[in-house]
């Protein structure tokens, strides 16, 4: 990976903080410290709405990192990511919930349930690997559509596990006796810490770990192999990269990221509904990585923040926005407006901004510094 600017993992919600992370050591440390400080400080200043939105964005970021490993770095299109999110979410619910009436559950400790749910998502990805290893690019994209439809079918049919159409409640995570819910009272520096505040920190930590791990994968040997497979499959084979095994392996890794994102989403929604995990969700994730920047961790995070916060922002401020209609009026509803905007953003980025928002950021930085833009090793310029 010849990228010089993948070194951000802003758990903060605002991309500007993510705009600068040159290789120079001291600046890097400063940026990291600032990002961490913002992440810690945010719950003291923002209300629950934004914290929940932030947790949502961070879950999306974890999922987007996973799909960026697959689609961005290895060149394998996946439309089935929503399925793995569903496996993660429902796996967690099933493992952790106590059996209740016709709803089954194993009643395991919640952290164990979360880990098992991620492993289950990985297993699901592994089962698909005979196909994931042999198909490439857009072929795999269509093949993975099958996962979505089969997944939805299973979700609606397997009522004892998923609760069927109405979904089921998600037990809150409990770590060493500390519950990520509103159940116990906790006040820190005069701010009541309810579920949103607690989940915010959990999300930030998980995102940081996920980002760090993915960065390690991308920067090291596996990352180079993955990029070579993307850029020239035959050359990769010649150099001794086991192409099919790598493709299958990345698919599994990516589905585990999806599983983690699913667990985080379930925790923040507090209710898992099968309808949510449809084709649209998968398309959202592809939109995220294209908008943010293909093949890098930072790009995935920026794109995830953009795509998942856009509808929230539009909903919140719909009354003061032109073109966005209030409920009951004709015109674009906030959700529609958001979809149109990011659909258009995907097209615009592919046409005008190879490298995505992240590429734009580094180009601006380069031109401010008076240098020529660094030729980026993104797929579109390859």
């Amino acid at each position: 990976m010849s990228e010089t600017s993948v070194s951000k993992r802003p758990p903060a919600k605002r991309p500007p903080a993510a705009g600068s992370a040159p290789r120079a050591f001291p600046t890097g440390v400063v940026v990291w410290a600032a990002v961490a400080a913002v992440a810690v400080a945010v719950p003291f200043y923002l209300d629950a709405f934004w914290l929940t939105a932030g947790m949502f964005a961070m879950s999306a970021a974890v999922g987007a990192i996973g799909i960026n490993l697959l689609t961005g770095a290895t060149g394998q299109l996946s439309m089935g990511h929503a399925f793995f999110l569903a496996v993660g979410a429902y796996g967690y619910v099933y493992f952790s919930a106590e059996p209740d009436g016709h709803l089954g559950g194993l009643g395991l400790p919640t952290p164990l349930a979360a880990v098992l749910a991620i492993a289950l998502a990985g297993l699901a990805g592994g089962v698909f690997s005979p196909i994931a290893g042999r198909l490439k690019g857009a072929y795999l994209g269509i093949a993975t559509l099958a996962l979505i439809f089969l997944g939805q079918h299973v979700l609606f049919s397997a009522e004892p596990v998923t609760g069927g159409y109405n979904g089921r409640a998600v037990p809150p995570l409990e770590l060493f006796g500390f519950s990520f819910s509103d159940e116990t009272d906790l006040v820190v520096m005069g701010i009541p810490f309810g579920a949103p505040e607690r989940l915010w920190y959990l999300g930030a930590v998980l995102l940081a770990l996920a980002a760090l791990f993915a960065r390690g994968v991308l920067r090291d040997r596996p990352g180079r192999a993955m990029n070579t497979i993307r850029d020239h499959e035959t050359a990769a084979g010649v150099m001794g990269v086991p192409v099919a095994r790598y493709r299958a392996g990345v698919f599994v890794l990516s589905s585990m990221y999806g599983g983690l994102a699913g667990v985080m989403l379930a925790l923040s929604f507090q209710r898992a509904v099968p309808d949510y995990f449809g084709v649209m969700l998968s398309l959202d994730y592809l939109a995220m990585i294209v908008i943010g920047g293909l093949g890098s961790v930072g790009g995935a995070v920026i794109g995830a923040v953009f795509v998942s916060l856009l509808p929230q922002v539009l909903t919140r401020y719909s009354d003061s926005m032109p073109l966005v209609a209030q409920p009951g009026e004709s015109g674009f509803s906030p959700a529609e407006a958001a979809r149109m905007l990011y659909g258009a953003a995907v097209v615009a980025v592919v046409l005008f901004l190879p490298g995505g928002l992240l590429g734009l950021a580094s180009r601006i930085r380069a031109s401010l510094a008076g240098r020529r833009p660094h030729p980026r090793n993104t797929r579109s310029s390859s």
Binding site: A138, I142, A146, H153, S157, A344, V350, L351, S380
Partner: protein
């Protein structure tokens, strides 16, 4: 036995409609090497225009308008997005068509809202009896029209100058260009043809026994994707066979779902994808697709 024959006939009819969609998909792939995820909204656009206009100008002109409209949308997408893109990698272009799809589908869905639009077709809910087997007129019409269209297309593909140009471009774009084939024109015509075929398919997806065109009709088009893939993305024969295979499987699995209840309700809807996965496990390039041979 009668049930089986009826299901088979219905399946073939649906399969022919899927084949229309898959064929468009394949043509676009051959001409511009893009996997077109916006196909669902091309289809929705064609159906929507037909449904909106039939009240004021009559069914046949409305259908013509729908076909022309979808073709125009296809051209527009090609002209504004595919042609402008400098991306060398075709997966990225595929994602761009997803963006196009999101925009188009949202816009059309916004206009349709929660309505179910009638197509104003002349067939209604009449049923034709062929001996003991009965089939609705609309299904029979779908079957005939689809086969005529597909046959016409395949003949044109073989014998006209346009078809030769298209095949040459698919075989080797650079050489074709040197021989005087205008690649941009070939690509645009492919998108137009695909849009037109999708509009016809939209009509038959929204007539009896379906209540009408609603915003999820585009989703039905997603079932044609497996048809294209399992036949082989670069094979017109494959699209045909794939479409039929999927239509028949779906009809049979829906028809006999009483006996398949252990698989859950609505198994017919996922049948296309099951078939696709099975085929891909055995032949990753599809039934008729060209296998890429690179030995290392």
């Amino acid at each position: 036995m009668t049930t089986f024959a009826e299901l088979l006939l219905n399946g073939i009819s649906m399969g022919a409609v899927y084949a229309l969609i898959a064929l468009g998909f394949v043509i676009i792939f051959k001409a511009s090497e893009v996997v077109n995820f916006a196909h669902a909204s091309l289809l929705l656009a064609g159906g929507f225009i037909t449904a909106k206009l039939h009240g004021s100008i009559g069914f046949w002109p409305a259908l013509a308008a729908g076909i022309a409209g979808a073709a125009a949308v296809g051209c527009l997408v090609e002209f504004l997005v595919i042609r402008r893109s400098k991306a060398a990698d075709h997966s990225v272009l595929a994602i761009a068509t997803i963006g196009v799809d999101i925009v188009l589908a949202t816009e059309i869905a916004r206009h349709i809202g929660t309505d179910v639009l009638a197509m104003g077709d002349p067939w209604g809910d009449q049923v034709v009896r062929l001996g003991p087997v009965s089939i609705s007129e609309a299904r029979l019409a779908a079957l005939l029209v689809a086969f005529v269209l597909i046959a016409t297309f395949l003949l044109a593909f073989k014998h006209t100058g346009w078809g030769v140009a298209m095949r040459a471009a698919a075989e080797d774009g650079e050489t074709a260009a040197l021989m005087g084939v205008r690649l941009s024109r070939v690509s645009m015509s492919a998108w137009a043809v695909a849009g037109a075929l999708a509009a016809v398919a939209a009509l038959f997806l929204a007539v009896f026994p379906t209540p009408g065109l609603d915003k999820t009709t585009g989703m039905v088009a997603l079932k044609a994707f497996p048809a294209a893939i399992l036949g082989g993305l670069d094979s017109t024969t494959g699209a045909l066979v794939g479409g039929l295979l999927i239509g028949v499987t779906e009809a049979l699995m829906s028809g006999y779902q009483g006996d398949l209840s252990f698989l859950g309700r609505g198994i017919g809807d996922v049948a296309p994808f099951l078939v696709m996965l099975l085929v891909l496990l055995i032949r990753p390039a599809g039934l008729f697709g060209t296998r890429e041979l690179t030995r290392v």
